[in-house]
Symmetry: none
Subunit: 126 residues, 2 copies
DNA sequence: GGAGTATATGCGTGTAAAGGTATATAAAGG
DNA sequence: CCTTTATATACCTTTACACGCATATACTCC
């Protein structure tokens, strides 16, 4: 788990980060809004904090978590090299994004996928 | 491996993608430049193609791979919600202050612009 | 057709990460 | 104190993925 990219590969962690955009949140608030078990939330927050995506402050028994910008900038910096390339294809973006759902905990088919395909062409996404 | 984020979590795949920014490449060229075994390259390319990051054309026995923009845009779209946040913490603020300095006719404003932030100050990038 | 080249895929293996459950720590309130 | 609330962590199990190696496919040229 060394790079920022591996951190945001996990859908639940991305959901947590998106939640924190609006404002800082306690573990319980995240747990309730995302409907995931508290230990799961705590563990993901630990990973996020170790990677510098969030920081926390103590409020009585609560911990309030909020975003930190650095790792996002790291991802953005990598992405930058491709930006000039994709700007010519903006139209295709909308078609692609239309097929994306907003994933929530438990709805993302977390495991179990045996592939038995012999395609040579790009595979249609779900 | 359903999301674009999981695809780019793998360092070798990111390296391949970065290679393809300059121009399309054959499997052998990628293999040589990145010094990884040919099956590894082929397998990563398969993953990248299934996810829509690259496409290939046939040139005799060779396959030429090049980038496709959509998944990058998907990542960028997710990142966008945080961009507001982090630019508020660094870029926009500094640029704003710079502009104020430069706009001032006969500006005598001091250059030391240390601003107060309510949260931890972003560190300079490593 | 056979040899050589270029790429893809199948199989077995190790490893690490994610989830579940239980429990530990810590603070607040009676 | 003892209980309740809030969060963290430990342990265990499952699984997926990345790799190495071997082999299959496919094209070219003799």
């Amino acid at each position: 788990m060394e790079s920022a990219f591996e951190i945001i590969a996990e859908p639940n962690r991305r959901a947590i980060l998106s939640l924190l955009v609006s404002s800082q949140q306690s573990v319980g608030e995240i747990e309730h809004q995302l409907r995931m078990p508290q230990p799961t939330v705590s563990k993901h927050l630990r990973v996020l904090r170790d990677a510098g995506f969030v920081e926390s402050t103590v409020d009585a028994q609560r911990r309030l978590y909020r975003l930190k910008p650095e790792p996002f900038q790291e991802v953005d910096a990598w992405l930058a090299q491709f930006r000039r390339f994709w700007s010519a294809h903006v139209d295709a973006l909308e078609r692609h994004l239309d097929r994306m759902d907003h994933q929530q905990y438990g709805s993302s088919t977390p495991t179990k996928r045996k592939t038995k395909e012999k395609t040579t062409r790009p595979k249609p996404r779900t």
